[in-house]
């Protein structure tokens, strides 16, 4: 019997190695695998490359340092690949102090690079970023009279995903704008680890409504995380 459920955070995080590239889903706290990120902080892997939409908010005085900011503060992140590096964030400070690298990527290019990795497409051309700093050092070629930049697939050794509901085959559905990067990161992770709010029996998720088929998923952990909170 196929059963991708694991029983603990430790089991979910087992085997993540130093130097891994970790894809981390979520957009504006919604659909973000917070419990798995906490698990990764606990697990100890270092020298990580973290791929995520936004590398944390401006850190306010006295506010606890959590999530990606915590991982950066611990010196465990070698590089972030992101679309937003905000001034005043722990990540921006680490970059300024040359303790961490940052690659800032247009959001559509980030999404397409991740999907390409999952789809076995090693590289593609996109008009996004042509004629900007983003194109520096990259091959540019005209298609239909428009300059286009060659971008490479961005696979993850690990993908951390949050689902609304999952079954033992690892089939997933998402809730509302919690979908965001989750389906494509699930595709692109060599080891895809999911935290899910709800657990379904096999067959309970309708075949026409499953968004991520279990073929993309390796491990599922049931975490009734509660509703996403807005940044204060």
């Amino acid at each position: 019997m196929i059963d991708k459920f694991v029983r603990s955070i430790a089991e979910a995080m087992n085997g993540i190695r130093d130097g891994s590239t970790v894809l981390m889903a979520g957009f504006g706290e919604v659909g973000a695998p917070h419990a798995l990120l906490d698990g990764l902080i606990e697990q100890g892997a270092t020298g990580l490359t973290i791929v995520l939409n936004a590398a944390g908010r401006a850190q306010k005085l006295g506010e606890p340092v959590q999530g990606i900011a915590r991982l950066v503060e611990l010196g465990r992140v070698r590089k972030v690949i992101t679309t937003f590096l905000r001034s005043g964030s722990v990540a921006a400070e680490a970059v300024k102090a040359a303790r961490m690298e940052a690659e800032i990527v247009p959001q559509g290019t980030l999404a397409e690079r991740i999907r390409a990795a999952g789809a076995g497409v090693p590289a593609f051309f996109t008009p996004t970023g042509a004629g900007t700093l983003v194109a520096e050092g990259k091959e540019v070629r005209d298609y239909g009279g428009r300059p286009c930049v060659l971008e490479l697939a961005l696979p993850g050794d690990v993908a951390l995903v949050e689902a609304w509901a999952a079954d033992r085959w690892g089939n997933l559905i998402y809730r509302d704008s919690g979908r965001n990067f989750n389906p494509i990161m699930a595709m692109a992770g060599r080891l895809t680890i999911v935290q899910t709010h709800h657990v379904c029996d096999l067959g309970q998720l309708a075949a026409n409504e499953i968004v991520t088929p279990g073929i993309f998923v390796d491990r599922v952990l049931h975490v009734a995380a509660g509703d996403p909170k807005l940044p204060r």
Binding site: F27, G28, E29, V30, T83, F84, L85, R86, S87, G88, S89, A92, V95, K96, A102, I104, V105, P106, Q107, G108, T109, A111, E112, I114, R115, T126, P127, T128, G129, A130, G131, T132, L133, V134, R146, Y174, R175, D176, S177, G178, R179, N180, F181, N182, P183, I184, V211, D227, P228, K229, L230, P231
Partner: protein, 219 residues
């Protein structure tokens, strides 16, 4: 600087948003950027069906929820809680930007730091040396949407022009802007240069030109 003393009243943020909204026809698919562009949604009359797209995979986004009716699972690209209209739908991030890059949006309204007379846009960084960099979805939107309108103050806080012969800040995309809405005027970017579509009452063409580096012409 009080321009009212000079015989005209610049638009506020709300006024600029309302002016943009006036020009969006029914049936368009539209992405509204962070800042003033987000306010545009409040000024599209509810009976006019305009389908709003958000980068995080929403089509058919509705207004802010009533108090105590928030859906914590539904935020827009600015991380504000929003609603979804009947007919709305969700897609993943790659599909969301397939919509953007694939030319499926009729319009994107973006904020701007600078716009050049050839339509070049700079809206994400004031220096190539900046550490804090926030590209987000702007580069994709700027190259992908059928039309890019920029809404911004006509000049900087210290009075320097933002509408330039050539952008000095790092570009978001080249030759992408077709129309600029400012607190003073609406300008079209045409093959023959910048054409003034309209201005706030009491502001003369020469007054506007004085606040604009690029050369203007009457439409």
């Amino acid at each position: 600087m009080s321009d009212t003393a000079q015989g005209f009243t610049p638009l506020g943020r709300t006024g600029m948003a309302a002016r943009v909204a006036r020009d969006i026809p029914e049936g368009w698919y539209v992405n509204l950027g962070i800042g003033i562009p987000t306010l545009v949604a409040d000024h599209v009359p509810p009976e006019r069906e305009v389908v709003l797209h958000s980068e995080n995979g929403i089509l058919g986004m509705g207004p802010a929820p009533a108090p105590h009716r928030e859906n914590p699972w539904l935020v827009n690209a600015s991380t504000q809680r929003v609603t979804i209209r009947p007919g709305g739908s969700y897609v993943d991030h790659a599909s969301s930007f397939a919509i953007v890059r694939g030319g499926h949006l009729d319009l994107c309204v973006l904020g701007g730091f600078q716009v050049a007379q050839n339509g070049d846009l700079a809206n994400w960084s004031q220096s190539a040396a900046d550490v804090g960099r926030q590209i987000g979805g702007a580069m994709d939107l700027a190259v992908g949407a059928q039309r890019v309108w920029v809404v911004m103050e006509h000049v900087t806080k210290d009075g320097r022009p933002r509408i330039l012969e050539r952008c000095t800040y790092p570009l978001t995309a080249a030759r992408c802007v077709s129309r600029i809405y400012t607190n003073l005027a609406v300008l079209d970017i045409t093959p023959d240069g910048l054409a003034v579509v309209d201005t706030v009452a009491g502001l003369s063409f020469d007054d506007l030109q004085a606040r604009t580096e690029a050369t203007l012409r009457k439409a």
